[in-house]
């Protein structure tokens, strides 16, 4: 093989590998974009059917229900205009309260109940918490 041919082959290989890697990276990027919606967006039909997304809203006061000794809880989220019923099995974050702003990640089941796989209380996801006064003021 001439050096010229070898170089050409080498460049082709590198291009193919880089192309393939970029394709997989872009696809992973697409697949892992989590959309953030409000309950009104959900009612307006913006919710994706086949992939997880996030809903943010306030926990409706009086809507929280959990059977004694059970890990599964139910509550309703609102943005003032629309509501969404949420079902979650697991430990709720320390900052979870009725009337508090939270974010849930998950999918709707067939009976249009949102099955959450993760519940984040506001500021819970922030590694380095913001200034204290932001914690004590109600958000949104």
């Amino acid at each position: 093989m001439l050096p010229r041919h070898r170089r050409f082959l080498g460049i082709c290989c590198v291009l193919i590998i880089v192309g393939l890697a970029s394709f997989l990276i872009l696809k992973s990027f697409q697949d892992n974009l989590l959309y953030y919606l409000t309950p009104s967006d959900v009612i307006a039909g913006k919710a994706p059917e086949d992939r997880e997304f996030r809903i943010g809203g306030l926990v409706v006061v009086g809507s929280f229900y959990r059977e004694e000794g059970s890990l599964t809880s139910q509550f309703t989220l609102t943005d003032g205009a629309a509501t969404v019923n949420v079902n979650y099995r697991g430990i709720l974050p320390d900052l979870f309260r009725e009337g508090q702003g939270i974010i849930v990640r998950g999918l709707f089941n067939k009976s249009r109940v949102f099955i959450a796989s993760e519940v984040l209380a506001k500021h819970d996801e922030n590694y380095m918490p913001p200034e204290i006064h932001a914690l004590s003021t109600p958000t949104e």
Partner: protein
């Protein structure tokens, strides 16, 4: 009064840093000796005044002077004294003051360094001048937008106390260490620019290497400490979340790692001069970006950032000025280098290749971190990029990186491929066989990625250790010559091994536990014994006692806690952890579900400790290089 003195010191520091900048410029006519003496003095004055300002703020904290807004927001009369000190950098204003203090300390270490000689003196003067300008920008930022000495009237009787999350020894020392790493990168940055503007050759590389290794050490320590803190304090046993704040520290680390390696090539072979300079510029720019992400409030809410953009815009302008300015200087002074005749399998080209992989890793993380912020600002569409993206794409640069690390260790300067192949094939075979045995026979097959990860980790460890093992019989100098590299690579290998095994073989779930009841986690049995009340200095707690059994034999007892602090409303979870080198058993207390049943978060994490043992060994390697080996070769 202390706050007013602090304010005065801060303004003096502003003036001193400006003098430091001007003394490096040619518009002041001075001969070089006097110029050096003066700029060194002003660097010390600048450092001293920032330090005194910090002391004044500390005094306000210790005397509970709640008429100072920053103290009122972050302290309380019953806050333990060590945390009053930690509260100095617990929030925005104080942490920026710390940032500047550390920057001026690094500047002073440069000013008093004995590594400069007649022909590199111009490098020292120009880089001190550049550091003066960086400091000037940030002191101005503090005074204009985030003054820690601001008073309030009427002042409150009591402060709001430090966020309970931050009341922890590891987090108290985490910011100073991480910041020392961030701002330490300003020194290679300044040296690179000084070199570009003067001789534009390789002399700066040996000097920059000292500070690059220093900041790399601090960054490594800071990131590891942060991850360890997140693991036991945030409550839910995760050790890395791909949170923007974490990414903000990982990106400079990756580029700093590339920089340290590239500087070796520039110092030893006098090539890649421009590439090293570019890496130095990018590394410090990423530090600035990290400061922007953490300190502008853009992460807490893009909208609050957009509506009150004063702080964020100021930092953005500083980034634009320093990064943009540096890149312009780089572009204007970039010499067309003579064509390089690189052999693909020589050490210099393998190091170059790996530096490209390290930078691509930083780039991929940057896309995932910044894209949601940009999209929200432009489109007000809210999205986030999930951890699966990062977990997946990081493999693309890291698999070849880990593969070539071992090859590069055995390559020689300007070497060829033939000899290399003979040297590495036995170790490669050993890593593959041991990796397959570990993943198939000891742990049980899980995924191809897990097997590959184990093999690559072992490969990095073996190839790292080999140059030292080979020289065991020879003289001490020969033996310790390769030790820093060996320790750094073994550390990396152990970290990757820990990450791979923990994430592939770990078990984690939420469940309910009643008194006397037990739950199976892998081969371990967790049994809840009691839950009792306990009172701490400024909190009340529920403490559970959980016994852990393996094959009906008790292996440990953990005491997870739920704390309610007097000052802040939300309660805090203190996990109960039983750990040894091989596995971590983790219990976090959820809540009382009624009927004597509690919710609990249970974890079994094999080899988790390696994730922090690895960085520790890497740090040993770096310290060894700085303090025990002969000084860098081409400085004189």
């Amino acid at each position: 009064m202390a706050a007013e003195f602090g304010q005065l010191f801060l303004i003096s520091a502003l003036a001193a840093s400006l003098m430091q900048f001007f003394l490096g410029l040619n518009i002041i006519s001075l001969d070089q000796t006097n110029r050096e003496i003066l700029i060194t003095r002003f660097t010390s004055i600048h450092c001293l005044t920032v330090f005194l300002a910090m002391l004044c703020l500390g005094y306000s904290f210790l005397t509970d002077d709640f008429s100072v807004l920053y103290v009122a927001l972050n302290s309380h009369t019953n806050l333990p004294v060590p945390y009053k000190v930690a509260a100095l950098w617990g929030a925005h204003e104080g942490s920026l003051l710390l940032w500047i203090l550390l920057l001026s300390l690094w500047g002073t270490s440069l000013a008093y360094s004995k590594k400069f000689f007649d022909h590199t003196l111009v490098l020292k003067i120009s880089s001190l001048s550049i550091l003066g300008l960086v400091s000037f920008g940030f002191i101005l930022f503090i005074i204009y937008t985030s003054n820690p000495f601001e008073r309030i009237y009427p002042f409150p009787e009591q402060g709001q106390s430090l966020n309970p999350l931050l009341q922890d020894p590891a987090l108290a020392i985490h910011p100073p260490i991480l910041y020392a790493g961030y701002v330490g990168l300003a020194v290679p940055f300044a040296l690179a620019l000084a070199s570009l503007m003067s001789s534009n050759d390789y002399h700066w590389a040996g000097l920059a290497r000292i500070w690059a290794i220093n900041s790399w050490l601090f960054l490594t320590g800071g990131i590891a400490l942060g991850s360890w803190w997140a693991y036991y304090e945030l409550g839910w046993g995760g050790w890395w979340f791909w949170d923007p704040v974490e990414n903000a520290s990982l990106m400079p680390w990756l580029v700093a790692t590339a920089l340290v390696h590239s500087l070796i090539v520039t110092e030893k072979k006098q090539i890649f001069n421009g590439f090293s300079a570019l890496l130095a510029i990018i590394a410090f720019s990423l530090s600035l970006l990290g400061t922007f992400l953490v300190r502008s409030g853009v992460l807490i809410s893009v909208h609050s950032f957009a509506s009150d953009p004063e702080r964020g815009l100021f930092i953005l302008m500083l980034i634009g000025f320093f990064t943009g300015g540096a890149l312009i200087i780089y572009a204007l002074n970039q010499k067309r280098s003579k064509p390089l005749n690189l052999n693909l399998w020589s050490r210099e080209s393998l190091l170059l290749l790996n530096n490209v992989f390290l930078c691509s890793a930083a780039g991929l993380i940057m896309i995932g971190t910044l894209y949601p912020l940009v999209l929200e600002l432009v489109n007000s569409e809210k999205i986030s990029v999930g951890p699966p993206y990062f977990n997946f794409v990081i493999l693309f640069p890291f698999i070849p990186l880990m593969l070539f690390i071992g090859v590069a260790v055995f390559s020689s300067w300007s070497g060829t491929g033939k000899k290399l192949l003979v040297n590495i094939n036995r170790l490669a075979l050993l890593s593959i066989v041991m990796g397959l045995i570990t993943s198939y026979l000891i742990l049980g097959y899980e995924t191809p990625t897990a097997t590959l990860g184990i093999i690559l980790a072992l490969w990095t460890i073996f190839t790292g250790a080999m140059p030292v093992i080979k020289n065991l019989g020879s003289q001490t100098h020969q033996l310790i010559k390769n030790l820093p590299m060996a320790l750094a690579h073994i550390g990396l290998g152990l970290t990757v091994l820990g990450i791979t095994v923990t994430s592939s073989y770990g078990i984690t779930f939420d469940d309910t536990l009643g008194f006397g009841q037990s739950k199976q986690v892998g081969s371990y049995e967790f049994k809840l014994i009691t839950i009792e009340d306990r009172a701490g200095p400024n909190f009340k707690a529920k403490v559970a006692t959980v016994d852990i059994f393996s094959n009906n034999k008790k292996v440990g007892t953990v005491f997870p806690e739920k704390r309610t602090y007097d000052s802040a409303a939300p309660s805090m979870t203190e996990a109960g952890i039983d750990s040894n080198l091989f596995r971590d058993l983790f219990v976090a207390l959820g809540e009382d579900l009624g009927g004597g049943v509690w919710s609990m978060h249970l974890q079994f994490k094999p080899l988790l400790r390696l994730i922090w043992l690895g960085p520790f060994i890497m740090i040993l390697g770096g310290l060894f290089r700085l303090f025990l080996l002969k000084p860098f070769s081409r400085e004189i």
